[in-house]
Symmetry: C3
Subunit: 156 residues, 3 copies
């Protein structure tokens, strides 16, 4: 199955469409291409106008919902890459993802939250989805989002 088909299937599984406008929050751009590299701005779990998962992981937000937030973030990033490159088949590697989790004081499962994003990268991109990862627990995020994720991709 092609990566673009896998992407569409993953979107359908999540129950969200990523074919509308992908809003970003301010005075910057969603991605910058630099030779073989593409930098993506930090993504929060926004679909259309709504941030679909808000609040603090480990307090008001259970692990599964935080993982969903991470999935929506990475789908937004992949949607932006797909639109910019024409197809996800041009992604040769994901060099880094950084996953920021709005956390309760004693919530220590940031890696498990980030696994939601990592699994989708492997599912959609196959071996090219292998990536380095940093996941940390922050105090707040824009618009009270539960997760924010950015990444750097390499293209063929």
């Amino acid at each position: 199955m092609s990566r673009d088909t896998e992407f569409s299937n993953a979107a359908a599984s999540l129950g969200y469409a990523f074919d509308g406008e992908i809003k970003i929050g301010g005075n910057y751009v969603p991605l910058v291409r630099d030779g073989r590299h593409v930098y993506l701005s930090g993504q929060i779990p926004r679909v259309g106008d709504a941030v679909v998962v808000t609040g603090r992981a480990g307090a008001d937000v259970p692990l599964a919902a935080a993982q969903l937030a991470a999935k929506v973030c990475v789908m937004r990033a992949l949607a932006l890459l797909q639109r910019s490159l024409g197809t996800l088949d041009k992604v040769s590697a994901i060099l880094r993802i950084t996953v920021y989790v709005q956390s309760a004081e004693d919530f220590t499962q940031q890696s498990e939250v980030a696994d939601g994003a990592s699994e989708l990268l492997y599912r959609i991109l196959g071996a090219a989805g292998a990536h380095t990862r940093t996941s940390v627990g922050v105090f707040q995020l824009p618009k009270n989002a539960t997760v924010e994720l950015d990444l750097v991709a390499a293209v063929a």
Copy 2:
């Protein structure tokens, strides 16, 4: 108007000079050049010996003061680039800025804080100032700074 003139004008508007020593906090270097790329260390809003905006955005620090902090951080980064390259005209792109905002528990305007830095990048660098951005709300920052900002630039 040249970028270096725009930089000087922006410094004058802020009421700060960026022509003195730019101190960094520890056992590292302010920037590393790697081929066409320059990595900048995290900048706090320090001018000379003083950190000019300290405290928690949304609690003791109102939005406008936090935006000022973001502006001072990015001016420091640009000053370091200007000194290293001779002129800001050699900057071809800003690949990424990451903006860390020391936040109150319920403060969710990290993007609006970061807009302070983003606006200056566009004003001073023009189209080359387009950048990807990640802004997050952290629990503390070195020296109780309200904002810390790092960036990666590409040079012509």
Copy 3:
């Protein structure tokens, strides 16, 4: 003295061995090589199965213990580089380290914590250990680690 010997000496000084399995927390890889660059995943101060420094810097964790945590993190990163490259002699530069410190509300010595890592980079890599650095205070980290550190290295 060779860098690999310096590395072994530093490990002996710390009282930890870095020759066993280096576990990572989830569904990703410890490092990605991209041309002349190597991205390392976020490292917590884990030796074997144990995270050797946990808790909040400035509350339950004093500065010296947090600095030890930063040292263990950077030793793990260097161990991964050494295994991947065969020898640390192939490292030509450290472009960036980012140091996340699980901090108490009023703990502002994140730079001093990060100095633990920076000093080891200079000690082991010499001039190639010069690096840019960003250190921030976060609310939580995976497995309640006191420090998490990631880096990007350039290779000859």
